[in-house]
Amino acid sequence: MNASSALGAVAPSRLARRNPTVKLAILFIVSLALLFVFDPATPALLYLLGLAAVLGFARIPLRTLVLAHLPFVGFALGILVVNALSRPGEVLVDLPPIRVTVEGLQVGSALALRTMAIGILSIGFIGTTDPVALMTSLHQHARLSARVTFAVLAGYRMLQQLPREWQVIRQAQSVRAPLRSDGATRFGIREFGRAAFTLLVVSLRRGERMSQSLESRGLGLGARTVWRPVPLGPADWLLFAGTLGVLALVITGVGTLGLGIGPGVLF
């Protein structure tokens, strides 16, 4: 079976062989734990550990890895700048109208690094997980109903078709639009709205037809079998326990060194 993820084909790797529900649970727990951490050291350490794990065990092509970083880097920079400039506290740089505070830099960098830490784990998760396996596993191991998991999978297929559909709609509508004096067509909020409306109508219809197809294939008949169960073995539990152990170690380690900062910094 050719597994493929949202980031392209899934290469066989140690991380790709692990149970998707376990990987998702790890991602969720680490993200939750980071919500209570406001020092830069913990997320930075977690990011580096995550990066090492992805490089060592995920076999995601380097180019894909770098490209997948971009949205997280952009978001992280945004958070850093907003916090550094807007948070009250001890002034570090004062060049009106720019005023950077120590607290702002500290919280900003912590939040930015949090984004990066969650980012690298998400990349590791998405890049090594086949959506079908994820849905099968969520059905098997997280008791998610088959109606939900297969609706999501059908939605995933529709999502794959959306960019193409959008392009066609834009082309179809712009051929009708009046030309501006420079020979181009206008594409403003109105045009965007119109194209989005068309996409919505077309997608709703397709969604309706797809749900009819799913029903006519017998989705929801009752007890069902699973052809290729996703395995959940000792190695998965080891991964789960190991990662949470490392997480605990990092948080307590940073705390012992006196670098840990909790949510109290906000008040």
Binding site: M1, N2, S4, P131, V132, A146, F150, L153, A154, Y156, R157, Q160, Q161, Q167, V168, I169, Q171, A172, Q173, S174, V175, R176, A177, P178, L179, S181, D182, G183, A184, R194, T198, V201, V202, R206, R209, M210, Q212, S213, L214, E215, S216, R217, G218, L219, G220, L221, G222, A223, R224, T225, V226, W227, R228, P229
Partner: protein, 569 residues
């Protein structure tokens, strides 16, 4: 809309359902599959029993144990990311032991001739492949009834043949009853004619009642005239019987004589066309959008539009990246074409050969991957009219881009017979009406050239004839028209010139008669000529004669007159 319909289908029986648009064929199918009344609200009286169960009281899902359904649109017929998963899904839902699933997947794929598709992702399948996988998914649960709802209407000739053969193979063992609704039965029946259709036929009248029910071979000739008048596409021998009043089909000398009489003599006055309105020079076409900076530099009509304040063509070439292809995958290259005012040119070729991308490139919506496009800005009518709708009513739709209160709007509304629909929402019209609106909305701008992508796809015969008439009117007032189509009959009726696309280039450029006579070329381009057209092209020397015959047959549709056989001789 459908009433008084009573029939039973025995196990293993094969049935085709005939009827004009709007007679309720789809409603009937939806009632059998349970979509009506469970998903679509409708009033149903009487009873529907599927495999001993009352379909009106049974949920769609429960009915799925007995029914296999193959819908029209290949994109929504397949729901999951992988072919294997799609097929396994059906068996998993029926709690089939996992150990049996793999073998059953292999077995069903072998029946539909799609064994090598097993490991494919569904997103990479062509239309014909998608439909065969969907057929396999409908069959794998071993249903008692297979319901086929216009399964080939979105496919090209190759796809149609593949799906039809797969359906035949599935029905051969006689374990599953087949109920087929198909729009282009002339194409579906293929060269075998009516013998290529299921052996039993049920005919719905325009009023939604069953008018005939019996063996196809005896019912079709009886119902021929009614169906033909009502605008159904029929296998050629049935159509000729209805139009000429002569039985026996193309092999019958009487029929041949009648057709030759319709063709008349001579090739008519040679057509004279105006100046070139759109031209491609050494054009390379790619489906992918060019990188932004390149696209801005290459917008083909930028200069034409700048120079032409009065909307008239000012011709000027645009060097297009020195023939570089910017790393885009090129579908077609070395395309040289000229479209003249008043001329109608058709582009033929397989799905995916680059026909649509060629139109987009000529329309300036895709930058050429090489070469130049010159001419004034063309109009382009897309395959799915809904993609182009911008207004909330038909009147607003036509008025888009025109000055407020333009007199042209009303003129076009009446001219295209859209007057009664002027205040309706375009999304709520029938398929044929939507096409009409999108065509009218493009023609109202009176651009020098009009491009059209599959303008007759999915239309019944009446709407097709109306579309042909609209294109002819536009050409007569000096538009240059370029269309791509799989509908060879419409192409033969309309086109002054035919281009054939295959192997990444244009392989033929000539009149319909010249091009359709070249069997090996057509085979290479995946084009199947319907029997009647094949015969006409072989026997007649000029396009004008072929057109006279096709026009004469078309005129018998609306009025329902048969051409008197004696006069035809």
């Amino acid at each position: 809309m459908l009433h008084g319909a009573s029939f039973t289908i025995a196990a293993g029986e094969r049935v085709v359902l005939f009827g004009p648009s709007g007679a309720g064929k789809s409603t009937l199918l939806a009632t059998i599959t349970g979509v009506v009344p469970h998903s679509v609200i409708a009033q149903v009286t009487g009873s529907v029993t599927v495999a001993g169960r009352d379909a009106l009281a049974t949920e769609v899902v429960e009915l799925s144990r007995h029914l296999g359904v193959l819908p029209q649109d290949p994109d929504s017929a397949v729901c999951l990311p992988g072919v294997e998963q799609e097929l396994a899904f059906v068996l998993e839902n029926r709690a089939v032991p996992p150990a049996e699933i793999s073998d059953r997947i292999d077995a069903v794929l072998a029946i539909v001739g799609a064994g090598r598709l097993r490991d494919r992702q569904t997103g990479s399948l062509s239309g014909g492949e998608s439909q065969r996988v969907a057929l396999a998914a409908a069959l794998i649960g071993r249903p008692e009834i297979l319901v086929l709802d216009e399964p080939t209407s979105m496919l090209d000739a190759d796809g149609l043949r593949q799906v039809r053969d797969a359906v035949d193979a599935a029905a051969r063992p006689g374990t599953v009853a087949v109920l087929l609704v198909e729009h282009r039965l002339d194409e579906y029946a293929g060269s075998r004619g009516a013998a290529g259709l299921p052996e039993r036929c049920i005919v719905l009248g325009a009023d939604g009642t069953i008018t005939h029910d019996g063996p196809t071979a005896s019912v079709l000739p009886t119902a021929a005239v009614d169906l033909h008048r009502a605008g159904c596409w029929l296998p050629s021998e049935i159509e000729l019987r209805a139009a000429l009043g002569l039985a026996g089909g193309l092999t019958e000398p009487d029929v041949q004589r009648a057709l030759l009489a319709l063709a008349g003599e001579g090739c008519g006055a040679p057509e004279v066309f105006g100046p070139v309105v759109l031209a491609g020079r050494d054009l390379a076409v790619s489906r992918e959008v060019a990188p932004r900076p390149v696209r801005r530099g290459q917008w083909p009509f930028r200069r034409a539009a700048l120079d032409a304040g009065d909307g008239h063509a000012a011709r000027g070439g645009h060097p297009a990246g020195d023939g570089r292809t910017e790393g885009r995958r090129v579908l077609l290259s070395g395309v040289n074409l000229e479209l003249r005012a008043g001329e109608i040119v058709a582009v033929l070729g397989r799905n995916g050969a680059g026909k649509s991308s060629l139109l987009l490139t000529l329309a300036g919506l895709l930058a050429p991957a090489g070469g130049t496009v010159t001419g004034a800005r063309p109009g382009l009518v897309f395959q799915n009219p809904e993609h182009q709708f911008l207004g909330n009513t038909v009147r607003e739709e036509i008025a888009v881009g025109l000055p407020v209160g333009s007199a042209r709007v009303d003129r076009v509304l009446t001219g295209h017979g859209l007057g009664p629909l002027a205040d309706r929402n375009p999304y709520r019209l029938s398929g044929g009406q939507k096409r009409k609106v999108s065509l009218a909305a493009m023609l109202v701008h009176e651009r020098a050239s009009l491009l059209a992508d599959e303008p007759t796809l999915g239309l019944d015969r009446r709407s097709t004839i109306a579309t042909i008439a609209a294109f002819r009117r536009a050409a007569r007032v000096g538009r240059g028209i370029l269309l791509c189509s799989h509908d060879l009959r419409t192409v033969a009726t309309l086109a002054d010139r035919v281009l054939v696309v295959a192997d990444g280039r244009i392989v033929a450029d000539g009149s319909v008669v010249e091009v359709l006579r070249q069997g090996d070329l057509l085979a290479r381009a995946g084009i199947t000529v319907p029997p009647l057209l094949r015969w006409l092209v072989a026997r007649l020397d000029s396009v004008a004669q072929v057109r006279r015959v096709l026009d004469a047959l078309d005129t018998t549709v609306d009025a329902g007159d048969t051409v008197p056989a004696a006069e035809a001789r």
